[in-house]
C-alpha cells in the first residue's frame, strides 16, 4: 500500500489529478474514522475529512515524501480537528467537553461517578458502548492520543511528529485517558482525584 501510495503521489504530482481519487479511496475510511472519534459527529467528521483531502491535494506538489502520505494526511486531519474543537470551545457556553477540559485545566474535581454502572456483570457489547461514550467525554487532548495510539496504533514518536507535542506529554495524556476510561467502565473504581486529571 505504501509503495503504491508513492507511485500515485508521483502521478498526481506529474499532473494526473484524477489519480488523486485513488488516494482518497485508499485513505478515506481511516481519516474519517479518526475524525469521527475526535469530533464526535458524522457530519463534522465528513466535512473535515473532505477538507483534509482537499488540503492534501493543494499541497501535494510540495510533498517530498519525508513522511508517508497517510501520515501526512492524518496530520492534516488532526490539525483540522484541533481547530474545530477550539472553535467549539470558543462558541459554546456549556458542553461536556468544555466542562471536562476546563476541570482538567483548572484542577477542578472531575466526577466520573455518573458513568458508573452498578451492575457488576455487563456484556462486552454494553461495555464497548460505555467506552465509546466515555471516549467522547474525554478532554480532546486525551481523546486524541488515546484514539491515535491505542486504537489506531500510531507510535508516540509519530504522533509527536504530527502534532508537535513531546513524547513525554503524549504519554502523560495517554495514561490519564486510560485512567478516566477505566473509571468510566468500572463499577467500583476509585474516584479520580483532581491532581490525576490536570494536563
Amino acid at each position: 500500500m505504501i509503495d503504491q501510495d508513492e507511485q500515485i503521489v508521483r502521478a498526481v504530482q506529474a499532473g494526473r489529478t484524477e489519480a488523486f481519487a485513488e488516494l482518497v479511496s485508499r485513505h478515506k475510511d481511516r481519516v474519517y474514522a479518526i475524525l469521527l472519534r475526535l469530533v464526535g459527529d458524522p457530519d463534522t467528521a465528513e466535512e473535515l475529512a473532505q477538507e483534509a483531502f482537499v488540503r492534501a491535494w493543494r499541497g501535494i506538489g510540495g510533498f517530498q515524501g519525508q513522511a508517508l502520505f497517510g501520515t501526512w494526511l492524518v496530520q492534516i486531519a488532526i490539525h483540522l480537528a484541533r481547530d474545530r474543537m477550539r472553535e467549539r470551545r470558543r462558541s459554546r457556553t456549556v458542553s461536556l467537553d468544555e466542562l471536562l477540559e476546563r476541570s482538567a485545566d483548572d484542577s477542578v474535581l472531575v466526577d466520573t461517578r455518573f458513568r458508573r454502572d452498578q451492575l457488576s456483570e455487563v456484556s462486552d457489547n454494553d461495555m464497548m458502548k460505555r467506552l465509546e461514550a466515555a471516549l467522547g467525554g474525554l478532554p480532546p487532548s486525551y481523546r486524541e492520543v488515546f484514539v491515535l495510539h491505542h486504537i489506531e496504533d500510531v507510535p508516540y514518536e509519530e504522533i509527536a511528529s504530527m502534532t508537535g507535542d513531546s513524547v513525554g506529554s503524549l504519554k502523560v495524556r495517554a495514561h490519564r485517558a486510560r485512567k478516566l476510561l477505566r473509571e468510566a467502565i468500572s463499577p467500583d473504581a476509585e474516584f479520580v482525584a483532581p491532581e490525576d486529571v490536570t494536563d
Binding site: G15, A21, Y32, L36, E46, Q50, I151, A174, I185, S186
Partner: protein, 225 residues
C-alpha cells in the same frame, strides 16, 4: 504505583522494573484487578467498530478538487471571437439541451471592457434585454438544460464567468427545462452544469468542448461582439 502502571502500558519498564511490577501485581489482588481493568479498556478500544466514510465520499472530494482546479487554472479568455447569434435548440425529444440566445444590442460603447463575473437574470423580457445590452455593451445569453434524471432538484451553471462558483448561478426549472439568462461581456467562456451539488455534466449540445483535466470536458461558450 500509578507511574509504574503508566510506564508498563507504554512499554517503558526495564527488565528489572517489569519483574518487580508483575511480582507486586501477583501478590496484591487490588492491583491485579486494576491491571485487568486497564487491559480491558485497551482491549475494548481495539474492538470498537470501525466507522467507514459515507458513500459517495470520494466523488464529493473529487468534485471539490475539480472545482478548485477550475478556479485555479481558469480557461483561456479570448475577448473577440465568433459571435453567438440565434438559437441552438434540440427540441423536447433530446435528453439534455443547451440553448444560447444572443440579443444584438445597438451601439456598443465599452467593447474592450474586461470580462466581469456574469450577472444572472432569470425574469427578463427580450425587449428589456435588447435595451440593456445596448447600453452596457454586453450580451444576454440564455442557458438551458434538460437533465436525463427527472428527479434532479437543483442545477447550477458553473464556469469562468462566475469564477467557478457552484452556488452563484442557479438555473430555474419550468416545464422540465432548467434555464437562466446570463449577461456577459464578449469573450470566450468555459462552463459545466452541476446537478444536485454533486454531479458535473458537460453541456451535451456544446459546439465546442475543452478537456478539463479530470477526464471530462468543459463546454466552451463564445460570446461575440
Amino acid at each position: 504505583m500509578d507511574a509504574l502502571f503508566a510506564r508498563y502500558f507504554d512499554g517503558d519498564l526495564n527488565d528489572r522494573e517489569a519483574r518487580e511490577f508483575l511480582e507486586a501485581i501477583a501478590v496484591d489482588p487490588r492491583l491485579e484487578k486494576e491491571l485487568r481493568e486497564f487491559e480491558r479498556v485497551l482491549a475494548l478500544g481495539k474492538a470498537l467498530p470501525f466507522p467507514k466514510a459515507p458513500a459517495g465520499f470520494t466523488e464529493r472530494v473529487m468534485a471539490r478538487i475539480s472545482l478548485e482546479k477550475k478556479r485555479e487554472t481558469g480557461p483561456e479568455r479570448k475577448p473577440f471571437r465568433l459571435p453567438v447569434f440565434g438559437i441552438r435548440w434540440a427540441g423536447v425529444a433530446v435528453a439534455a439541451a443547451a440553448i444560447v440566445l444572443a440579443y444584438i444590442g445597438g451601439v456598443y460603447t465599452a467593447r474592450n471592457r474586461p470580462v466581469t463575473p456574469a450577472t444572472t437574470v432569470t425574469d427578463i423580457s427580450p425587449g428589456f434585454a435588447n435595451q440593456a445590452a445596448a447600453e452596457s455593451g454586453q450580451r444576454y445569453v440564455r442557458l438551458a438544460y434538460v437533465p436525463t434524471n427527472p428527479s434532479v432538484e437543483k442545477v447550477t451553471v458553473v464556469g469562468s464567468f462566475n469564477n467557478w462558483d457552484p452556488e452563484a448561478t442557479p438555473l430555474r426549472r419550468q416545464d422540465g427545462v432548467w434555464s437562466t439568462i446570463l449577461v456577459l461581456a464578449p469573450g470566450n467562456y468555459e462552463y459545466m452544469f452541476f446537478e444536485n451539488g454533486a454531479r458535473w455534466v458537460t453541456d451535451p449540445l456544446a459546439v465546442q468542448t475543452r478537456d478539463d483535466g479530470f477526464g471530462g470536458s468543459n463546454a466552451v461558450l463564445e460570446v461575440g461582439t
